[in-house]
Structures are given as C-alpha cells and as structure tokens.
C-alpha cells in the first residue's frame, strides 16, 4: 500500500474542512452585519441559507425530478406516460417485489415493537436491567451491512460434512438435514426480516422501557389491589399508558423498513425472490441503467410514506397549537 494514497485523502479532508471554515466565517460576518442593523428577516435568511440551499438542491428538486422521470423511458429521452407503472403491476418479478415489500412493512414493525415491549416489560426493575438492555441495544450500533454479514454466517450452508452456519448445525445436531436457507423461497424473505428485527428490537426496547418508567406506580398498585391479574394490568393499564410511545416506535421502524436497501443487497442481491422496493429502485437505476423504472420504484416508495407524513404533520401542528 502506497502511503501517498493515504496522504492524498487526508489532504482532501484538510482542504475541505478549511473551505468549510471560510464559508462559515463569511456567513457569520454577514449575519453579524445584518443583526446590527436589526433586520431580522435578513438575519433569518442568512441562518437558513445553507440548510435551505442543500435541501432545495439536494432533496426537493431531485424529488420532483424523480417524479417526472417516472413517466419517461430508461434513458429519459422519451415520454411514455404510465408504461413504467403498468410494468410494475404486470411484471412477475416487480409484483414479487411489491408483495415482499408489503410483507416487510407489516411484519417487521409489528414484530420489533411487540418483542421490544415484551422484553422491556420482562426486564423492567429486574437486577442487571442495564446489562440486559445494552445487550439487545448493541446491534443498533452495527451497520446493516455488518449485521447482514453476521447473519449470513449464521445461515451459511454446506451440502455435506461439518456445517459452518450455526442454524444448520443446530438442525444437524437434532438429526435433520441442513437447508440452503438464503436460496429457499419464500422462507428466505423471513430470514432477511430477522436481521432487521434483530437491529430494531433494541431501539424499541430502549424507547418503550423509558416510557414504562413514566407510568405512575400508583395506578398499577391500585389495579392490583382491585384484584386485576398481571395480564389484565398489562393490557388495560400499561399498554394504554404508553400508547403514544408504541405508535412512535412502530412508525419509526415502519419508515426504516420501507427504506431498507442494505440487508437485501448484502445478503441475496435481491435474487431468489427476495427483492424489495428500495433495493429494486437502486438495481433498476444504477445496475441495470433504467432510470425510468428506478424513478417509478422511488415514487411508489414515496407514496407509501405519504400517510406517515400527513400523520406526523398533523401531530406537530397540534403540538404547536398546544405550546401556544
């Protein structure tokens, strides 16, 4: 390895940081001048300028452009109206992608939230609660790619001899035949989901466990004195008290699931009937070079988050009103 290859990279880093510092100083100077004249509109625009420029050029404009591109052919030269959409809803592979995505966005948020809640309740007030929490939370710090590699080794398959993957070894130990898990449709879809659930349960546990601590013990004590069983207390007292936290967790995991790209890319590459929208979008646009179809997939993805956007905006409007 040539050391100059590394110095070139750090040189770029230094230049980049210096350039950023210069820009910030200039902006700060302008803001300072404007604030002295007490022109709050101008000050606001200086403070907002970098963020709005980045969001406008990098997110809003491209999103509109992507929407337009979805009505054009692969290289963007010919208007083809709804042909790409017709393709999505008629092509077998594309339909499989849609079905898989539907399964993902139902199963993963439901399972992650449920497991996180159960685990949070089980460890609540238990000795060593912090350690329990940290163990499950740890995968949150691991990249999706890292987690995929971890699980790819768990699912590893060998036709004969000593198994290398833990899952197949367990099968062999109980006297069953090993299975080529990742090639085995439709089970492989669920095995990929396991990886995302494995990552998200930690998030669910931490948020829900914090919410549990906020439930007043008096209420639970009162219910117990009234003769409620633990199950009744759980369903009629605990769950309603932390309902908003449960919704937030489910929605957050839902969005993460929808955007999921890495796990499918790193584990199966979308083969063997495991493709999902966000991965297929990338595959179409950047591997197969069909921008129109890629854009169409992105638009479908966006359509699926619109209900969440509306729900969130409503929520924040209400909060703004309450704050006043």
């Amino acid at each position: 390895m040539d050391i100059s290859a590394l110095t070139a990279r750090f040189g770029l880093l230094a230049v980049g940081l210096a350039a950023f510092a210069v820009v910030m100083l200039a902006l700060y100077g302008i803001a300072e001048l404007a604030s002295r004249r007490n022109r709050s509109r101008l000050v606001a625009s200086v403070f907002l300028f970098p963020a709005l420029l980045f969001l406008g050029v990098g997110l809003v404009y491209p999103a509109v452009r992507t929407f337009v591109m979805s009505f054009f052919n692969g290289d963007g030269t010919q208007f083809i109206a709804f042909d790409n959409y017709a393709w999505v809803f008629s092509d077998d592979d594309a339909l499989q992608t849609l079905v898989n995505t539907a399964l993902w966005i139902v199963i993963v948020p439901a399972l992650s939230t449920a497991l996180g809640l159960v685990y949070a309740v089980l460890i609540d007030g238990r000795r060593g609660e912090r350690v329990y929490k940290a163990l499950v939370f740890l995968p949150m710090g691991i990249s999706f790619v890292g987690a995929s590699i971890i699980w790819k080794f768990v699912y590893q398959y060998k036709a004969s001899g000593d198994q290398l993957g833990l899952l197949n070894q367990l099968l062999v130990w109980v006297g069953l035949d090993p299975v080529n898990w990742l090639n085995n449709f439709p089970t492989n879809n669920f095995l990929l989901m396991v990886v995302l659930v494995w990552i998200e349960v930690g998030f669910a546990t931490v948020v829900l466990s914090a919410a549990l601590k906020g439930v007043p013990t008096e209420i639970i004590e009162a219910a117990r004195i009234d003769g409620a069983s633990p199950a009744q207390i759980f369903w009629n007292v605990t769950v309603p008290s932390i309902r908003s936290a449960i919704v937030v967790v489910a929605v957050t995991v839902f969005i993460a699931t929808l955007k999921l790209f890495d796990i499918v890319r790193a584990m199966t590459g979308g083969h063997h009937g495991t493709d999902v929208l966000a991965h297929n979008m990338w595959d179409q646009a950047f591997r197969l070079g069909n921008d129109g179809r890629g854009a169409t997939m992105a638009v479908l993805l966006f359509a699926l988050v619109i209900p969440v956007v509306i729900y969130q905006v409503r929520n924040i409007r209400r909060q703004e009103l309450e704050a006043r």
């Binding site: 070139a8 770029l12 980049g16 997110l59 089980l122 740890l138 999706f144 890629g294 905006v313």
Partner: protein
Amino acid sequence: MSVKTDSGPEAAPRPSLAESRGDRLRRMFSSRIASAVAVLIAALWTIPTAGLFISSLRPEDDIRTTGWWNVFSEPNFTLDTYNYVLYSTSAGGGLIRNLVNTVVITIPGVIIPVVFAAMAAYALSWIDFKGRNTLYIAIFALQVVPIQMALIPLLSFFSKGLAIGDFTIVPAWQLDGVNTIVQVWIAHSIFGLPLAIFLLHNFMRELPGDVMEAARIDGASHSQIFRKVVLPLVTPALASIGIFQFLWVWNDFLVGRTFGGGEATRPLTAVLGDMAGTWGFGWTRLPAAAFIAIIVPLLVFLLLQRYFVRGLLAGSVKG
C-alpha cells in the same frame, strides 16, 4: 422529551400487599419464565455477533472447514487475516485505504450538517419572521421522504450539472479520483439535515425565553446570542445529534456506494456490502474485514450511549 430516562425512588420494588401462598407461587413461577425468556432473548441478540468475532480471529483454513464453535474444543487463533485485509496488495486486501475513506468521509459528513442544522434551528425557533411555522413543518415533513427519491437526479447533478434547456445553472462538477469523496460529503450533509434540524429545534425551543430576552435587552445581536447563549446551552443536544450522524455516516452503504465513485474511493461499508453480496472467493476474510468496520461505531456507541439514548428519546417520544 416527556419521558424520564432514569427511574426515581418511586420505581423501587413494590411492596406486596396481603399475598396468598398460591399467588406467591404463581408469581415466582411466572418470574422464572420471565427470567428464562429474558436470558434467551439476550443470548439470541449476542451469540451471532460473538460468532463473527471468533471467526475473525481464526485461521482461514479453519473457517473454511469447521464452525466457529469448534474453538472451544480446539482453540486456534491468529491475527493474520486482519493483517491481510488491511494491508495486503493482493485481491481482497488493502482495505486500510477504504477505512481511511470512511474516516475522511465521516468527519465533514458529521460537522457540516450539524453546523448548518444548528443555524437553521436557531432561526426557526428564535428569530421572528413570516412563514416560519410553515417552513419548519415543511422541513419536518422532509424527514420521512425516502432518499431513494433523490438519488438519480442528485448523481446526475454532480456528473452533468444543472441546466434548464440549454441554459446552464451549475456546470458538471467533474470530480474524479480521491475528489469524488466531496460528493459523498455533500450527499450526507443533505440527507442528515432534516432530522438534525428537527431535533435541534426541539431542544432550542425549550430554552427559557427570558434568558433570550435578557440578552437582547443587553444589546446582543442574533449572531451573538446564537454563539454565546444558545450554542453552549445546547451542547448536549449537539453531542446527541453528532453521534446519530456519526453512526449513520460511518455505517452507511447506500450513499457511499452511489456517490463514492470507484472502489478505491468508496467507504469501507460500501466495499464490504459488495463483498458480502457476491460472497466470492475471499469470503473467509469477510469476518475480519467486517469487524474492522463494526468495532469503531460499536465502541463509540457503548461509550456514548447516554447521549445517543437522550437524542433518541427526544426525537421519537413526544407526549
């Protein structure tokens, strides 16, 4: 921010009132099951990672022939694989280059969006101007827009520039070699902004209004208030958001793979993702390579978990 993270004295073990013997037995039994389930979940969440770590320390021939659990009967460890994947000039080696890419990408990829977001959040929470709320809600809504919506046009913005008809607004960036990394900085800054603005706005708005008022009466300008009053007060929030963004950028595959140019300038995770996807000839080196990428964010995560959790709760749990 309405959720308490630490348990107060009221969360102490509850006194059991007038419990019959049957109740007691049932409670102990269900507590046994609860313990077993908790331990089972904790084990399921730890063993796969431990397996990969053990594999990364085994000689490649062992990895190829037996499962990692065999180390307990015949321990055999080496650091050769780490050495190979980092420094070898042969196929599948030299990942030190990509590790440096990751570092070079991550530092500005965290600083730029956090600084821009802090400025924007201040304007959105403490400067009065018309349309402030609408603007904030619009940025808030951008949080959920999948970045997939932006990938194709943003990449063409870098490679072809921006033009309306024949009129060029921004020419092509023409970045090549190491400089391709600039694209990744910008892309990460863009995609990190909405969440960072939202979180910082949440923190800044909760600052006491009379402190701001006092500073203003003393003749401080907005830029002075921002620098001398607001920034010191929101330092913990900046730390939380910095950690979020750090984990996101370091662990990112999609942005690095899309905007990172050729394999030489891609971040480590992007290269790993492709290695795992193809599962080619060098798969026995994958555990070591993966662990190099995993260990840094994992350490940061463990050491700074408190800040991370605080940010998580502020961002996600609203009463």
